[in-house]
């Protein structure tokens, strides 16, 4: 079974060389279409992944129910989605928000772009439409294999926005608390498009994620795992040919916090294996396999094409906690709400 990033012919500038994979094997082995391209190396000889990178695709993380049993969109569906992306980008450029093109809730929108709060999501240009129907490639149904408890937690998480409770600072999610949205989705998620700056030095790969100023320091010098548990675990990397393989364990248990997406929450049994492969000048194929019996009934794998931004792209300071006016406001509103309820129940 072939699993490709198929680039529709319609109006995309620059072809993305296809990384092809099956859920069972590495996407990079047997990569086609990139065979003549030689990945650059750093001055000290490691594959060079440096630059600022961002996922700009429209592929949903989990396969929507309407595509059950289908891994790929038809050409017509791709063309239609591409047109929607262009229209939405044009609308944003023209200054129209949501209502101008039909306001959609995040959950209803098959393709995000003009829903409520879309200013967080402005990519400045049409997003790329790919053929596949989910970023998750394994299990084959393209859905997160939650345990029953985790599924309940996810449902609760999805239902609580704008509803609460907001009794204390422990009620908002880790993102609202300016902590992090988790390391699992760091490479492709983020309200601001998920900018990631990769800087390498001999023996290290560092990744700075603009949002929450999340940072990963990945030694590639063959050292063993450190024993200190951390939010982002302990990452050790190694080079397999042109691929950076990162193994991360020793996470802190933060399942007692609220998470925007339950699949990003760490527990002590979380284990991540990530593979970063530059498949052409502008694309890292990022493959992540996630295992954690505390949240998932089986391991799952997602494959995400991450695009390189222009050389002069900078990431900026994300002073979230320093300017978290939302927290006092949320709590003050929660308190007013509690007082109102108490009065009305008398």
């Amino acid at each position: 079974m072939s699993y490709r990033y198929v680039i529709p012919a319609v109006g995309l500038i620059g072809a993305l060389a296809a990384g092809c994979s099956t859920p069972q094997s590495s996407p990079t082995e047997g990569t086609s279409g990139a065979s003549t391209w030689t990945p650059p190396r750093t001055a000290w000889g490691d594959p060079d992944l440096q630059g600022v990178w961002r996922y700009e695709g429209t592929v949903p993380f989990e396969r929507p129910k309407e595509f059950a049993g289908r891994e790929l969109l038809t050409d017509e569906e791709v063309a239609q989605r591409d047109q929607v992306e262009k229209d939405q980008a044009a609308n944003r450029l023209a200054g129209f928000e949501g209502a101008a093109v039909g306001r959609r809730s995040i959950s209803e929108s098959p393709i995000r772009g003009n829903e409520y709060n879309s200013f967080w999501q402005d990519h400045g240009r049409p997003r790329r439409v790919y053929k596949q129907t989910s970023l998750i490639v394994d299990p084959p149904d393209g859905r997160v294999p939650y345990t029953d408890d985790a599924r309940k937690a996810e449902a609760r998480s999805a239902a609580r926005y704008g509803v609460g409770p907001y009794e204390s600072f422990l009620d908002p999610d880790t993102g609202e608390r300016c902590l992090t949205d988790g390391v699992t989705g760091m490479m492709w998620q983020g309200p601001n498009g998920g900018h990631n700056q990769i800087v390498q030095s001999p023996g290290y790969v560092t990744i700075l994620h603009e949002e929450y100023r999340d940072r990963r320091i990945i030694p590639t010098d063959g050292r063993p795992h450190s024993s200190a548990r951390q939010w982002f675990g302990d990452a050790v990397g190694r080079w397999e040919g042109d691929t950076l393989v990162v193994d991360t364990t020793n996470f802190l248990d933060r399942t007692n916090y609220e998470w925007a997406s339950i699949w990003t929450r760490p527990s002590e049994t979380l284990h991540l294996v990530e593979r970063f492969t530059r498949v052409d000048a502008d694309t890292i194929e990022y493959k992540i396999t996630v295992e954690d019996p505390a949240t998932f009934s089986a391991p799952w794998t997602a494959v995400i094409p991450i695009l390189r931004l222009a050389d002069d792209t900078q990431i900026y300071e994300y002073a979230c906690h320093e300017g978290n006016y939302a927290m006092p406001n949320l709590l003050s509103a929660g308190r007013a709400d509690a007082a109102r309820r108490q009065t009305s129940s008398r």
Binding site: F169, R213, I217, A319, L331
Partner: protein, 306 residues
């Protein structure tokens, strides 16, 4: 253990060499021509590694005696007995920090400011004094805010330098703050920032970093030394032995000071095998302090807030 006697001997030997160099060169320019650092593949001095300051600059950039706590209150003078020494007030730890006992004390330290004096304008000297007296309510470190520059360098946490071709990264442990030092040309920040915009260049053995685009929210230490958004910091990182960098920062801020002034200190290499910069994600450590009283319920007690 991999870092045993041999490692200790290296540190001691390196320390001796450094002490020699320090004594000899420090009063002149802060530079040394005697030590040539190993080179990166592109021929630059290799500053990479994990470093830490070992001094009391984060308590106070200037010389200070030991004292019982960062927050003090004057005990009421006892005036009933003629000739009693306690007619002069005694400073005691403030209520909010008293429980920490000796852990909460302030160690004495010699200053790191060249010449000793911080040349405040008169209004700013008064402001600094007031900051000192209101340390507990005002120091941004307490709230886990990004520490700014140069304070990030001499906080009691390690930091790691990574050198690439056109970027140098400094990863600080405190608050997970990272600075990108751009060796290539970059535009100014679109807004004022906590950690500033860093532009670096090589001057012989020294990495020189110009830092601008600051906001006025950070402090230099726990003694209330402060600046405005006109701050311009010029840093110099010079390797002076395999185990030491000489760190100098010249501080200019025409809104607050009458002239530029300079701090100088050694930075020490951390030698522990496989040493890493770990997380100090203090945002979650200060939420109870900042927000515990604001919600309908205080999660520390489970009680309804009044």
């Amino acid at each position: 253990m991999r870092f045993g006697l041999k490692g200790a001997a290296i540190v001691i030997a390196a320390g001796a060499v450094f002490a020699l160099l320090w004594t000899r060169v420090a009063p002149v320019t802060g530079q040394t021509e005697s030590y040539r650092a190993p080179r990166t593949v592109d021929g630059r001095p290799d500053l990479s590694g994990i470093w830490q300051a070992l001094n009391t600059a984060n308590y106070d950039l200037q010389s200070h005696s030991a004292r019982p706590a960062l927050a003090l209150i004057p005990a009421p003078p006892h005036t009933g007995v003629p000739g009693l020494g306690r007619s002069k007030p005694v400073e005691l730890p403030a209520q909010s920090v008293r429980a920490l006992g000796a852990v909460g004390g302030v160690p004495a330290g010699e200053g790191v400011v060249q010449g000793g004096e911080i040349p405040y304008q008169p209004w700013a000297a008064a402001q600094k004094k007031e900051n000192f007296e209101h340390w507990l309510e005002r120091d941004p470190e307490i709230r886990c805010f990004m520490p700014g520059v140069p304070r990030a360098t001499y906080m009691p946490y390690p930091f790691q330098i990574f050198q690439s071709a056109d970027k140098v990264l400094i990863a600080y442990e405190f608050a997970g703050t990272t600075r990108t030092i751009h060796l290539n040309e970059v535009q100014n920040n679109p807004a004022a920032t906590w950690m500033g915009l860093s532009r670096g260049r090589w001057d012989g053995e020294t990495l020189v970093v110009d830092v601008t685009d600051f906001n006025d929210q950070t402090w230099f230490d726990r003694a209330g030394n402060f600046h405005s958004d006109a701050l311009h910091v010029s840093e110099r990182y010079t390797p002076v032995s395999p185990s030491h960098l000489l760190y100098e920062a010249t501080i200019e801020d025409p809104k607050v000071f009458t002239r530029p002034w300079t701090i100088r200190m050694p930075l020490y290499r951390r030698f522990e095998p496989d040493k890493k910069i770990l997380e100090y994600k203090c945002t979650e450590f200060v939420e109870e302090l900042l927000y515990g009283h604001l919600g309908a319920v205080d999660p520390a007690t489970g009680q309804t807030n009044k």
